[in-house]
């Protein structure tokens, strides 16, 4: 096997154990676009993983000079429920935590049902009950529609 090498980062966040194939959606959650990249972002897609339940593969995203806020971490949990967030300061691990999907979420995704009242300019945030954490499946608290393709509906 060829060893994949990505240089260690000095300061920033490593998002590890992302469900294979979801790295680009993680970048979407991070709001990365051509106008706001000021530091290096390394993206590894489909690298071998020894962790159980991953099918042997994972994605990894390393973002330099940025620490993620809670809302961003909560969104990542919706598409990569086994991800870990590692905060690096001065080349050392300052913090390491698993993302955590709570039993209900609000304001992070919109309902996939175009006829749902929450998609009609009403003054409410979409709210969901988490009916499965892995793979993440949500049920809209308004229209009852269940949704598993969450990345298409991230706000």
């Amino acid at each position: 096997m060829i060893e994949i090498k990505v240089a260690p980062i000095r300061n920033g966040t490593v998002i590890d154990h992302i469900t294979a194939g979801q790295a680009l959606n993680v970048l979407k959650i991070l709001g990365v676009n051509e106008y706001n990249i000021d530091s290096t972002i390394s993206v590894l897609i489909r690298v071998p993983s020894k962790k159980e339940g991953t099918g042997g593969w994972k994605d990894v995203v390393k973002v330099e000079d940025r620490e993620l806020d809670t809302k961003t971490v909560d969104k990542i949990a919706l598409i990569a429920p086994n991800a870990t967030i590692v905060i690096i300061r001065d080349y050392s691990v300052a913090e390491k935590k698993k993302v955590l999907l709570s039993s209900s979420i609000s304001g992070l995704v919109r309902c996939s049902n175009p006829h749902c009242i929450t998609n009609k300019n009403e003054p409410v945030a979409p709210e969901f009950e988490v009916i499965s954490k892995d793979p993440p499946t949500l049920r809209c608290k308004y229209c009852d529609r269940t949704m598993s393709k969450i990345s298409d509906n991230l706000i």
Binding site: T118, K120, C140, Y142
Partner: protein, 310 residues
């Protein structure tokens, strides 16, 4: 449980015991619904009937149920006559109407509208149908009709036929029938079968539904046949519609093999799903079913507005 001041948004919010209580009170309302007894038990209360979508049966039966209990009704029956047409949100409309009445009945084209209304209204809200979503009062009157006709719901073989994909009445109904332990069979062409989401939900509650597109195979074992309308606009090709609609048209010939006490129900309006000749048989209970909307809705108003003494 007390229903006083409670919202009725989805049948999934209620368990079997709570539904049974509503059915018991509905039974007590029958003589009043028939006009054989009279009462003004809820005199002085005001019902806000908000129908943002056309409806005949549901709107009239809520009005009739209210009048039978002495409740006054204010209503909006056309979207164009409201400030919604001027761009007002439903949330604002609800807050306004909430100040004018003691209870809101809402029919709305968008799914989840009743849940939103319940959030913004101080007074209780009854969902009278929201888009392709819930229609809990229809479900309650369907259950009431089955209970009255058969004496029980548990263990009955209940066949649902027609447009099971888009027909909102069947989606709420199968949730409740599962709570009561009925055996479910879904008869529809593949394109109009029960949505996977709904099937998964009832299976999670212990139901073991059967699926077929051959109505004649299941009629001999059925205790209840619940027929729904197949809408022409669901088919891009009219000849395909005619073929499918013809397969599920109920007539006396089709019911030849049926049990003598088979009950045929339909949420109405029917187009030609049930031949008029069936109306004269003992199977036909769909007009009774339409009447049952009155005692059931009376029971809800009575329980939610805190009626006493009936």
């Amino acid at each position: 449980m007390s229903f006083y001041d409670k919202d009725i948004v989805s049948i999934r919010d209620f368990d079997r015991k709570q539904i049974e209580e509503i059915l018991r009170v509905s039974e007590r309302m029958v003589p009043y619904a028939l006009g054989k007894k009279r009462t003004k038990v809820l005199e002085g209360r005001i019902l806000g009937n908000l129908f943002f979508e056309p409806s005949t049966r549901t709107r009239l039966s809520f009005e009739s149920a209210a009048h039978r209990l002495g409740v006054d009704v204010i209503d909006v029956s056309e979207m164009s006559a409201t400030s919604i047409s001027k761009g007002e949100t439903l949330a604002d409309t609800i807050r306004m109407v909430d100040a004018y009445c003691d209870l809101i009945v809402l029919r709305h084209p968008h799914e989840g509208a009743a849940r939103l209304a319940a959030k913004f209204s101080e007074n209780p809200v009854i969902n009278a149908g929201d888009g392709a979503g819930s229609h809990p009062t229809q479900t309650l009157l369907d259950l009431f009709t089955i209970k009255r006709a058969k004496g029980k719901i548990e263990g009955l073989n209940i066949v649902l036929v027609g447009d099971l994909k888009y027909g909102r009445t069947v989606h709420s109904l199968i949730d409740a029938l599962t709570e009561f332990g009925a055996n479910l069979t879904f008869v529809a062409p593949e394109t109009l079968q029960m949505p996977e989401d709904n099937v998964k939900h009832v299976k999670g509650k212990g139901a073991k539904p059967q699926f077929t597109d051959k109505l004649e195979h299941v009629i001999p074992h059925a205790d209840v046949l619940y027929v729904t309308r197949i809408q022409k606009e669901r088919f891009p090709d009219p000849s395909e519609y005619n073929k499918v609609a013809g397969m599920y048209r109920i007539n006396n010939e089709m019911l030849r093999e049926a049990k003598k006490d088979l009950v045929v129900l339909h949420p109405l309006p029917r187009v030609d799903e049930i031949a008029p000749e069936v109306d004269d048989t003992l199977h036909a209970k769909y007009f009774e079913q339409a009447f049952n909307g009155i005692p059931v809705r009376m029971a809800l108003l009575y329980l939610i507005l805190g009626g006493e003494g009936l």
